[in-house]
Amino acid sequence: MIRPGWAAALAAPYAAWMMVAFAAPLGAVLLMSVQESPEPFAPLSWTPDWINYQEIAGDAFLRRVIVNTVLLGLGVTAASAILAYPIALWLTRLPARWRPWGFALILVPLLTNVVVRSLGIILLLSPAGVVSGIVQALGFPRPNLLFGWFAVGLALVQVFLPYMVLALYDVLEAQEKRLTEAAQGLGAGPATTFLKVTLPLSLPGLRAGLVVVFLLSSTAYVSATLVGGRQVWVSAMVVFREGLDNLNFPLASAMATVMLVLSVLVTLLIGRAIALAMPWAHGRRRRAPLLPAAAARTLFAAAEAVRPVLSPLLFGLGTALLLFPLLLVVVASVNDTPQATVAAFHGFTWRWYGLILDNPRYLGDAWISLQLAVATVLAGLLISLPAAFVLVRGTFRAKEALGAAFLLPLALPGIAVGLGMLRLLQWFTAVPAFLGILAVHVVLVAPFMLVFLRASVAGLDRTLEEAAQGLGATRRQVLMHVILPQLAPGIAVACILGFLISFGEVTVTAFLTTARLQTLPVRIYAEATFSLENTVNAISTLTILLTIALLLLLNRFVPLDRAWKR
């Protein structure tokens, strides 16, 4: 256990960074939300006025949007969790040398442009598409799936599933393999073993995944705009419309604040539910079983019966969803047509690769993005790893509240962070450009790394540390030879994810780029606002190749598995 004094010291770097780089835009958003006048140049009032909140509360449409957004977030989170388990388990069973490839497969959706991904969803769901064909072949009437909640949900599951898989991967990888063997030796079938051993032991990872996916899916808006066909309205779309189309910052800020509060509440509820589900972690006695023994037996028997069908089906669905964009992107990157979102093949060309490789500006922007992402990950790791120890091993009362506060940047829609930064632009531009964007990127990335590392730290085998200390090891030796090797896969996963988030960030960065500093995603976004050319697919393909190369390299230095356990 960490004493309070130490806890404060370990949490301080993370807290300090958030105070400097996040509290300011958050403060700006909160202050804007209590302004009365919607005029962009109205003088700032320090007397709070609640008119914007009253407007939201009194508007049935906005209320419905908020409820729908939360429900969508919950649905996407649940679906991601169900699809992620088979994939994460598969990944832990993959031979070590194939693991970088397995990771690359999972990360495909994060490496492809959102417009191209949504084209994939449209192709899947269109009346003449794959899903519709299957449904009709089974004898059902032609479904109307495109442009609605289902399409948006599917698009969000596709892009957030990787987060869930990675969150589960580390805790599943760390699990004692002999436990499942013991369960099976005692007569439990695979489904029972999963439900009674693997699942409960993976709950810290599941908690990380649930929190991250919920926060991401309840603040996302691009997919909803692209595949929702305006049948779907989510809160961040309202923030965008009011803040950027209508320049009504106060209403946009109030909407973002309402979302922030709701997201924090849901995060706390998820934490509470997981804690209740694992009483052993808090030294409490087991609860009485939820079901009578006979009912439970029937349930487990039913689970065993459906498992042979259900498990491969879920695995197949999940991997197909993850891999489908890869097919689209690779084919489109050599497609001889000017627009990126073309379903038909018009001929083979290397032209799009040529356009990128001949153009020093793409490479220059890519170089900036790379430097920024590496710096972000390093800074993020340095502040979030100690903070993760505090959140797991601290003994102070406000631990849960601190954990929720540390995740605030995830709960505020990116577009609102951007609006907040706009208000501070004069101060921001006084900071050196790279440092300024780095500060903001760390705010966006560190909470993710914290959530993931927290799960990894929670999974540490404390008996190993005690044994080492008993044998006379110093604190430093314990850290270097016992703790860090156990954490290596978790750290690697957190770094991969942090790198990709920073490397692909556009929502907030688009407000902050200057003539001196432009990232690759902002360039792509700027081009897409004119017309999305196929260069975007060539860039995605190159990024996927780069990611595979980085993963292979990473695997040489930081093992993605725990080889000593076999």
């Binding site: 700006a28 202050l31 962009p40 140049f41 003088p43 700032l44 449409f61 417009v115 084209l119 449209i122 192709l123 269109s126 009346p127 003449a128 598409g129 442009f147 705009t225 692209l226 066909g229 305006r230 049948q231 309205w233 419309r241 009011e242 950027l244 189309d245 209508n246 320049l247 009504n248 000017p338 627009q339 990126a340 979102t341 073309v342 379903a343 038909a344 018009h346 706009l422 208000r423 501070l424 632009l425 004069q426 531009t429 688009a510 407000f511 780029t513 200057t514 003539a515 001196r516 432009q518 902002v522 360039r523 792509i524 976004y525 700027a526 081009e527 897409a528 606002t529 004119f530 017309s531």
Partner: protein
């Protein structure tokens, strides 16, 4: 948090006074080593500007042009946040945003000190310097309609029932569609109810589109028959991948849309910014726009081959036939109409 200490009127006054400080010969004020920061869209537009505007300027004057690429909404939000102390010298906006920005003291009204200003059509002289007409019109898949579409009213034809892909509002296409609907159903920007009532009659829509890429995907997938879109991009799409798509020239006219170069209030590079705009309005640059992306010229002194001209809006009469609106009214009502659109049309 900064509170503007200037009043709006003082700022506009400063903007109007600025050229006087610089004297009549703006070009004389350009110094070697000066830097100009331009906020503009990426892709083909950036390539054309580098070739015809910044490249020649950099080699002629020894200056440096910095591009900040992005979408209109981010650029506009930033320019508003930096009013009076801009990090941009020139920004590109759409027609109604540019006029509002001048009124809000964010960007300067145009001045005849830019030599090519004299060649601009009247509608390209408001809110800055119009650099390209990019009108919005009716586009449709000829296989899916009983007869060619020749009027904005044709969306309400029986053979199009359930096949219309409506553009979302706000947005250039959605604004044009809303205002043209008002016009053909006896309303206008001051009487928008006929538009909402009649658009609602079109439901259910085959889809709602919020970008050209999305519309073209829908056309590819044969999800709908007709929509409202920029003629220029749709022509490129039709010629490169879907020959069934027609770009109509409705009897009521095409709706005006304009890309506008705006010099910011408070720029310290007035002469260089004016030189930039002047070159953007040069016949060479305007010709490249027309040839490569079917943008119609905003200047009178450009001759184009007849087969190209037939695809564009060329000449006094054609430009005058573009339907223009009272953008003050439009922009003032946008929040209200946007929320009506979500509730009554697509929400």
């Amino acid at each position: 948090m900064s509170t503007p200490t200037f009043t709006r009127r003082a700022l506009v006054g400063a903007a109007l006074a600025t050229p006087a400080i610089w004297g009549t010969n703006a070009v004389a004020q350009i110094r070697r080593g000066d830097e100009l920061t331009v906020g503009v869209w990426g892709g083909a537009q950036e390539r054309i500007l580098r070739e015809f505007v910044s490249g020649p300027m950099e080699s002629q004057y020894g200056v440096r042009i910095n591009y900040v690429l992005g979408g209109t909404v981010e650029r506009r939000a930033r320019a508003y946040a930096e009013r009076g102390r801009p990090s941009f010298d020139v920004i590109y906006l759409n027609i109604f945003e540019s006029r509002q920005a001048v009124r809000d003291g964010v960007t300067q009204p145009p001045t005849p000190e830019v030599p090519n200003f004299a060649n601009l059509y009247p509608s390209a002289r408001i809110g800055g310097y119009g650099v390209a007409y990019n009108p919005i019109t009716v586009v449709y898949d000829r296989r899916k309609v009983a007869a060619p579409m020749t009027s904005w009213r044709d969306f309400w034809r029986e053979d199009l029932r359930g096949k219309v892909i409506w553009p979302s509002y706000p947005g250039a296409q959605g604004t044009a569609a809303l205002l043209m609907s008002a016009k053909v159903w006896g309303g206008d920007e001051n009487n928008i109810d006929p538009a909402f009532a009649n658009i609602a009659r079109l439901r259910p829509f085959a889809g709602i589109q919020s970008s050209q890429d999305q519309l073209f995907t829908m056309f590819d997938q044969e999800i709908g028959a007709a929509s409202v879109e920029f003629g220029s991009f749709t022509r490129m799409y039709a010629e490169s991948r879907n020959p069934n798509i027609e770009i109509a020239n409705p009897v009521e006219g095409q709706a005006i849309a304009l890309n506008v170069a705006c010099i910011t209030v408070g720029t310290t590079k007035q002469a260089l910014a004016q030189e930039w705009v002047n070159r953007h309005l040069s016949p060479e640059c305007q010709r490249a726009y027309a040839e490569r992306i079917y943008y119609s010229p905003t200047i009178r002194n450009l001759e184009l081959p007849p087969e190209l001209a037939a695809k564009l809006i060329i000449g006094e009469q054609a430009v005058a036939s573009l339907v223009d609106f009272d953008w003050d009214v439009v922009i003032r009502n946008q929040p209200r109409w946007a929320s009506r659109f979500t509730r009554e049309i697509a929400g």
